[in-house]
């Protein structure tokens, strides 16, 4: 509700102050966001290799990428990762958030659950690579002992799922805390009323909590999906600079084209494809979730 200000005060425009306050941030935005976005789109239509003057090649890069098996393979791997990551993360994080809310977990327990989110993915990749080491990995031995074999870090059949599990493990506490924040907005009286009506915790979770936190849920879904498509550190460090084919995600492919083969033009074209895909996915998600409206209002 923007309240009208008294007329005397309103007449002055703040153009100069605005220019001063916006200056630094907008300068950074122009140089490192707007300009590279335009340059990236331009590179995508050139044969730029970092070492040459970029020459215009029209849609050649895009024609090449349509025919490039590896682009589609890495996109498929990334999509499988993203969906598995999203579903597993959401189910577990919703459960954990509900536990935080209904058991009123203390702050120190909640902050403990946040620990993996604070740690660089690089360290996380190393820690799990060691836990699942084929020879003396502690977790690998533990799993062997209960009859679950083959869960070693470099096992091609398991690798992508291992990356999913690691990724869920590292983001779970953070995601749960975001959802928990949404749950705090649900009035306690609703639960009291529900309990009086004889509804159990499970029923209240599905009938009350879930519908009422939809805006936060939508936000978390969109952010997680975009984040999942950008998985890189876990793969590049965990599996080294030449990872096994099963975990070559799209970010790795772009990175390799640009920085191992210096095909900047081609890498930019693949990045354009990624931008378009992510934009479309986000749009669809937001529409499906009706993110702007909560049933609480």
């Amino acid at each position: 509700m923007p309240r009208e200000m008294p007329r005397v005060i309103r007449r002055r425009s703040d153009v100069w102050t605005a220019a001063l306050l916006l200056g630094p941030a907008l300068a950074g935005f122009a140089v490192f966001y707007v300009s590279p976005t335009l340059r990236g789109a331009y590179y995508a239509t050139t044969d730029f290799t970092l070492l040459n003057e970029p020459a215009f090649v029209g849609a050649d890069n895009f024609r090449a990428l349509l025919a490039d098996e590896q682009v589609w393979t890495s996109l498929r791997i990334t999509a499988v990762f993203a969906v598995a990551n999203l579903v597993l993360m959401l189910v577990l994080a919703l459960g954990l958030a509900a536990l935080m809310q209904r058991l009123r977990l203390r702050t120190w327990v909640r902050s403990l659950l946040l620990l993996p989110w604070l740690v660089p993915n690089v360290a996380i990749a190393l820690i799990w690579g060691w836990l699942l080491d084929a020879n003396v990995g502690y977790l690998k031995n533990l799993l062997d002992a209960v009859g679950i074999t083959g869960v070693t870090f470099f096992n091609p059949d398991a690798a992508l799922w291992i990356v999913v599990v690691i990724s869920v493990w590292s983001g779970l506490g953070y995601t749960a805390l975001l959802l928990y924040a949404g749950m705090l907005q649900v009035p306690a009286e609703l639960y009291e009323a529900g309990a009086l009506d004889g509804a159990g915790e499970t029923r209240m979770f599905f009938r009350l909590t879930l519908p009422l936190i939809r805006p936060v849920l939508a936000l978390v879904l969109v952010v997680s999906l975009i984040g999942s498509f950008q998985v890189f550190d876990l793969v590049q460090v965990g599996y080294g600079n030449n990872p096994i084919p099963e975990v070559r995600v799209i970010y790795y492919y772009i990175y390799q084209q640009a920085f191992s083969f210096y095909k900047m033009g081609y890498a930019s074209a693949v990045a354009v494809l990624l931008v378009v895909l992510l934009g479309a996915l986000t749009y669809v998600q937001l529409r499906l979730m009706r993110a702007d409206r909560s049933d609480l209002a």
């Binding site: 005060i9 425009s13 102050t17 605005a18 001063l20 306050l21 916006l22 630094p24 941030a25 907008l26 935005f29 490192f32 966001y33 707007v34 300009s35 590279p36 976005t37 340059r39 990236g40 970092l50 536990l99 058991l103 327990v109 902050s111 403990l112 620990l115 989110w117 604070l118 740690v119 660089p120 690089v122 360290a123 820690i127 060691w130 080491d133 003396v136 031995n141 493990w169 506490g173 805390l177 975001l178 959802l179 928990y180 924040a181 949404g182 705090l184 907005q185 805006p215 950008q230 890189f232 550190d233 460090v237 080294g240 640009a258 930019s268 990045a271 990624l274 931008v275 992510l278 986000t282």
Partner: protein
Amino acid sequence: MSRPVRPGRVVAWLAVGVAVLVTVFPFYWMVRTALTPAGALVQDATLLWPSDPTLINFRRVLGLTTVEEAVAAGGTGAAIDFVRYTANSLLYAGSVAVVQTLSCAAAAYAFARLRFPGRDALFGVVLAGLMVPGIFTLLPNFALLREAGLLNTMVGLVAPAILTSPFTIFFLRQFFLSLPREVEEAAMLDGVGSLGRFWRIALPMSRGPLATMALITLVGMWKDYLWPLVAGNSEATRVLTVALGVFQQQSPNTAPDWTGLMAGSTLSVLPVLVLLVLLGRQLVESLNFSGGK
């Protein structure tokens, strides 16, 4: 306490216990391994505490041992100087966190409170910046810094992030919008200009959210890997995450230097652990704040 214990609650608390254990154990195992002599790695593989704990792995990744000692303790003998990498990480993350928060606070205040033509359209453009995946701008930014001769310099490393983050601007704008207008209006009637209202009123009233934003940025930059990998992989500007990756790649594939790697990883976890102990409450509360619209 007099209420009867329901089985559902027991299961719920058990689930919490499992979640905490699963969260913490990998870190415990990291520290345990870092304290194990490389020679005892296989023999101690199933022990929860090393039979002969040692600090040698920390000493060698910090460059405090001779090459011979390091090789004897399981290293490759390649120079590793985690003191420098940690200092680089602190400089990288710290400078961006402080400067970016201030610069974005100024912009956010302008978007929230000042009147100027094109304000909402401009804000829309900044928001659109949120939708562009990092790698798309990373490639041209790399080319730009290369042309400018700023690769492998701290200035070049911090340049893309130090002034702007669309997310930070968005978040702080939301906060400024939620501040009561009355205080600023009173100041306005007293003849305080718009700059003074930002600097002397809005900023001091926003210490909490500013600290939160700086903290979130600090953590993000501390974890950052891809950009410092491509733009600052020289010894002088190498940050901790990149150093860990390089360390891993130098270590032989067949028998990785796990004790050294875990010592290095522990060093990358230690500062955030301190942060969590000191500021855990604020961090957790602030996520409540940023998540709950």
